[in-house]
Symmetry: C2
Subunit: 223 residues, 2 copies
Amino acid sequence: MDPKGHERKVYFDKKMGELQKLLLQMGGLVEESIARAVQSLKEQDLELAEAVCRDDDNIDDLESKIEEGCLTFIATQQPMAKDLRKISTLFKMVTNLERMADNAVNISQVTCRIGREPLIKPLVDIPRMTQITQRMVKDALDSYIQEDVGLAVQTIDMDDEVDQLNAQVFRELLTIMMENPRTITQATYLILVSRYLERIADHATNIAEEVIFLVTGEKHSRQ
Amino acid sequence: MDPKGHERKVYFDKKMGELQKLLLQMGGLVEESIARAVQSLKEQDLELAEAVCRDDDNIDDLESKIEEGCLTFIATQQPMAKDLRKISTLFKMVTNLERMADNAVNISQVTCRIGREPLIKPLVDIPRMTQITQRMVKDALDSYIQEDVGLAVQTIDMDDEVDQLNAQVFRELLTIMMENPRTITQATYLILVSRYLERIADHATNIAEEVIFLVTGEKHSRQ
């Protein structure tokens, strides 16, 4: 590699490192937001739910900051081929992360709606979905940083489990509603929560698919 | 402007024109997909629902094609400042469009689930939401092409109407379920359909917000 090419590479890696650090910071906040949203629902903690909604601004700010960073980087460094693809993937990932955070806010809004009445049943599957989903978010980001296709595939595989739990929650809550129509309002809201989690897992899956495309150049086909 | 600058500008406009043509083509397919999904539900047309799911591949293909076009354009032309922002906005918009199409697929999947039993009530608010949502998609894309902030603001304003209709559908269906628990399954699915439409409108709102940011440099704050 010629000296100028080497210099460019060092600069590229340094800048990418900075952007990736911000990405992981944003990912950490999103994971936390998901966990707190479901905790607020489980423990009927309205204050925590409101905090999740409030703190969403920090995530939005980070999104803007990372996007700006990507664009400035592209404009000033004019990266080619793989490097450009690496940045454009990051650019798309933050959109996915921001949507996940919006879904966490939606869950918190459900807490605000139904958090004053006793839960119709202890939440089991929803916290389980949350755990898997959080893991998927973390692994999807790590698979990007490490360009680890195996980890990306694992992330996508976990999505099946989330889909199954979502279907199970749906069936179970329908049964509860039919047996006791007084549960209808709350059960419907819980079905929405389960959908929001499933949607978050979908966003993590999108990221993992982008990573596979970035590394292999092949589109991952969903089952 | 120096002659070389002029040449670049002509080339930029030509390429942007091509990408925008693809964008409008994709937008047209997405609008059609939303309309057909809701029509399949309203008329309980399972074949149409299946066609919506099948045709989603064409939308995904266009998404890839536009993204590739944007990246190649950036790599070869190295546009700066406003031009780069114009392309990166387009790059983000196709993600939003693709998600809208996914929501249309979700609606069609509901048709496949409940399309064999008579509807518990004629659909009125849902088709109304659909009309507004389709209009929002069209206007959001036009606001980008024409860089029309007024039209973007109008698009965002329409989102309030969709939110209100969504809340109304939710309340109405909860009441129907409580009065007649045999409607629970279908009513729950219809609540999801209403959410999918609301989500599509949110994506159109996101696009309109991006347009405002592109043109004015200011973030539009949601009410």
